[in-house]
Symmetry: none
């Protein structure tokens, strides 16, 4: 056959080849056209189906974060805040921890007001526990968690900057609310803020905790939290408080360093006065601060030592909001 | 002879041994006495002999720093600043790089006004070069260097805090004066400060250099600097400028990260107006900033690429000077 082929005149072979090539091209174009017609309409399906979330590439897992917001008796604030937070840059998903036991989640209303920028998952709880927000949620795909109280509004600028700071300090709790413990000669610890004396390391103040109600931290710590001694869970349940202090103990013990990195917020607001529910948050209870001092001492017993370390590093964003917020007399 | 020794009676040998031993002991005592008498009087010599400094324990090598201050034609400012800087906490030693060629160092006056808190070494130079301060001085015993221009006054509080920050970021240049480069569409770089446009990474500004005229950095970088290409030295000598830009290139290339960490100073002052000499510093030359842009581009050629990276982290001291400089509307 090979010999036969070589004997054909060049001109005849050329025409047959041309015809064959044309047929192939036309068939390919038809198939392409059919495939295009069959592609689903992206716009209709994208936002309504909360269950079909895009699988997170490993790159995105580091470049985006998951907002976890626990809510109790302040659904009006929750929805107001969700409108703000759902549009924060680098947000991957929102997990709402629904502590309104027996009450239906506002799923219909949420869907009817779609599409939304990111998926929002409502996790219905069976018991109203403070530590419900510290579960290792299966929906969590990112390395970073942003945890926010349901009455706290932090500006997008602050969050974008704090997220970039977390990426440089991923083993720390990077957030906007610093607190400290102090020792007393009796050996009993006390919890507080700037109103307490400085811990005595040179001049200025120090902080030893960053509260998780407005902070970024590594999702791995949620996994670690599940493995804490039962006494820690009992303490949090008994006080309905101190889950954030416990997290700082966990992180400090894990890193051997100061647990938190404080980022000074430009615009952080507490919206609790704006709620229709009249519910104003746990920190208004008379015993709130005394409880937290109590928790510090209990946790020192449970962990057999004080792992919290002091820091006086305060981070701000260079050139924002004022383009020369670093000018000096030189 | 050996055999002969063995044949001596035991008693005779014992007495001879005893006599011999006594003589040896007496001679040793006399020698010891003579040596003690010859030991120099410590008090008189301690401060006057600048050459004999105490050997630094390895602990101190990390907990203290060496101030390197280059000086030209502003001895009045130098001496004013030395009174301030010699008492900074954690200072181990001062090295004054004497660029006043042919002029005597003020050693007599310095000694007559002793004792001083730390040793001060005057390094007499043979040529007035900007890069003289970047030598790997044998007197340098600490891991940290504080480099200061001879017209810059930074408060002790700022320095103590910045040193503690350097200890947390030892591979970076931790200092008080941030600068940046920007790219232009032509590919030519420009050097400047807040007056230039933001490099375009989100909102706010960025810096890519921290100037070494008021900064802490690891003494190992002085060693590294000696190994830079000859073209770098030629550039610095040609411009009598840009040694600090070259150091930032070196550090950025070494770490693969942003070279500097900016600490916002509370109290930094330029004293150049206070000098009697009338000499007002290199940065007043008309071509100073243009030279620095020129240097950035030359260094990119020499290093075959732009190693500088941007940062927008601005560090301040928590609770200082105001005990609650972090309070917010919450």
């Amino acid at each position: 056959r090979y010999l036969h082929f070589c004997k054909l005149p060049g001109r005849v072979m050329g025409i047959r080849l041309l015809r064959f090539t044309s047929v192939v091209i036309i068939v390919l174009l038809l198939v392409a056209g059919a495939l295009t017609a069959l592609l689903p309409n992206i716009k209709d399906d994208k936002m309504l189906n909360l269950k079909r979330e895009p699988k997170l590439q490993s790159q995105s897992a580091l470049d985006s974060f998951t907002l976890i917001m626990q809510t109790y008796n302040r659904t009006d604030l929750l929805l107001k805040l969700l409108n703000h937070y759902q549009a924060i840059p680098h947000l991957h998903k929102v997990i709402v921890v629904w502590n309104n036991i027996g009450e239906k989640i506002p799923e219909e209303m949420w869907n009817s007001l779609g599409p939304h920028p990111v998926p929002v998952v409502f996790k219905v709880q069976t018991v109203n526990r403070m530590r419900n927000r510290l579960q290792n949620f299966p929906e969590l795909e990112t390395k970073a968690v942003l945890m926010m109280d349901d009455d706290t509004l932090v500006s997008a600028h602050d969050l974008a900057f704090a997220f970039s700071v977390w990426q440089q300090f991923p083993e720390h709790i990077v957030g906007f609310v610093p607190r400290k413990h102090i020792s007393t000669p009796s050996g009993v610890y006390s919890y507080g803020s700037f109103e307490l004396q400085n811990p005595g390391f040179g001049n200025g103040d120090q902080y030893s905790m960053v509260l998780i109600g407005a902070a970024f931290f590594h999702s791995g710590y949620l996994e670690d939290f599940q493995r804490q001694p039962e006494a820690v869970f009992a303490l949090i349940d008994e006080t309905q408080n101190c889950d954030d202090i416990a997290m700082n103990f966990l992180v400090a013990k894990h890193t051997g360093k100061s647990s938190g990195v404080f980022v000074k917020p430009v615009d952080i607001r507490n919206l609790e006065k704006d709620t229709n529910s009249g519910y104003s948050g746990m920190w208004h209870r008379a015993e709130h601060l005394l409880q937290r001092s109590y928790c510090v001492n209990k946790l020192v017993n449970i962990y057999d030592g004080m792992p919290l370390k002091y820091s006086n590093i305060m981070i701000s964003q260079f050139g924002f909001p004022n383009y020369a917020n670093h000018k000096n007399k030189m």
